[in-house]
């Protein structure tokens, strides 16, 4: 099965990229393996407890993607800087208690591995 990797660098709401990435990933998951790497501000996307009165909950969208089989990973350096810390214990497929289920914090080397295992790559950033 072919693999698509999506690299994101924006947080939710401020730009449309989290939603566009969701639509791309959802379409791709019907036939392909999908990796999503959350870099820089994109590590805010999986934060629990979002109440976007006027928008669609971005954390929920990405958790849903993980539930459908997408591998969603956040950069450890970017996440740590922004106050999201990995823990040893994995609960609901996540190693960060502030994150939605299914989304984990990993080293930046995971981006490199994702790329080397991919067929196509999409990057979205402001």
């Amino acid at each position: 099965m072919k693999t698509l990797t999506i690299v994101l660098t924006d947080g939710p709401y401020i730009s449309e990229y989290a939603e566009i990435a969701y639509k791309l990933a959802e379409a791709a998951l019907k036939k392909y393996k999908v990796n999503i790497f959350l870099y820089l501000d994109a590590v805010h996307i999986p934060k629990k407890g979002q109440y976007p009165a006027f928008f669609i909950n971005a954390g929920q969208l990405f958790s849903e993607l993980a539930g459908k089989g997408a591998v969603v990973r956040a950069c450890a350096r970017c996440a740590g800087a922004r106050g999201y810390l990995p823990e040893k214990e994995i609960i609901q497929e996540s190693n960060c208690k502030d994150y939605f289920p299914g989304i984990r914090i990993t080293s930046l080397y995971e981006l490199s591995e994702m790329l080397s295992m991919s067929d196509r790559v999409i990057s979205l950033s402001r």
């Binding site: 930046l108 981006l111 490199s112 790329l115 990057s123």
Partner: protein, 114 residues
């Protein structure tokens, strides 16, 4: 071997993107052919003599030197437009005219823009 072209078109220090692009390029070095392409405002990264201690930020020039094996291309028309053509540039950086710069993008397996 797969190749990845990281496109940086944002100025260093004012944004985390230059630091992010350098780190992403560094971790890919073992597994892929990596090129960091400086384009538009990204070419400011090429200026020699950066000293960011007083800002409390990592010195991006030093990071470039530390990864000497990383191929860094600077888009010449962007340099000229920004008044950087006469400036001393970090010596590990290759100047590329538009044709060579675009060819490097086209011949890479992936292009990732930050």
């Amino acid at each position: 071997m797969k190749s990845v072209f990281y496109l940086l078109d944002t100025a260093p220090y004012g944004s985390e993107k230059a630091f992010g692009a350098l780190n992403a390029a560094a971790v890919s070095l073992n597994e892929m052919d990596v090129t960091l392409g400086l384009y538009g405002d990204g070419v400011y990264l090429a200026i020699v003599g950066q000293d960011s201690r007083k800002l409390g930020l990592p010195n991006l020039g030093d990071i470039l030197y530390a990864y000497g094996e990383l191929r860094v291309l600077a888009h010449e028309p962007s340099l000229v437009e920004r008044g950087l053509f006469g400036q001393t540039l970090i010596e590990t950086i290759e100047l590329a005219d538009e044709e060579d710069f675009f060819e490097a993008m086209e011949s890479s397996t992936y292009v990732i823009a930050f």
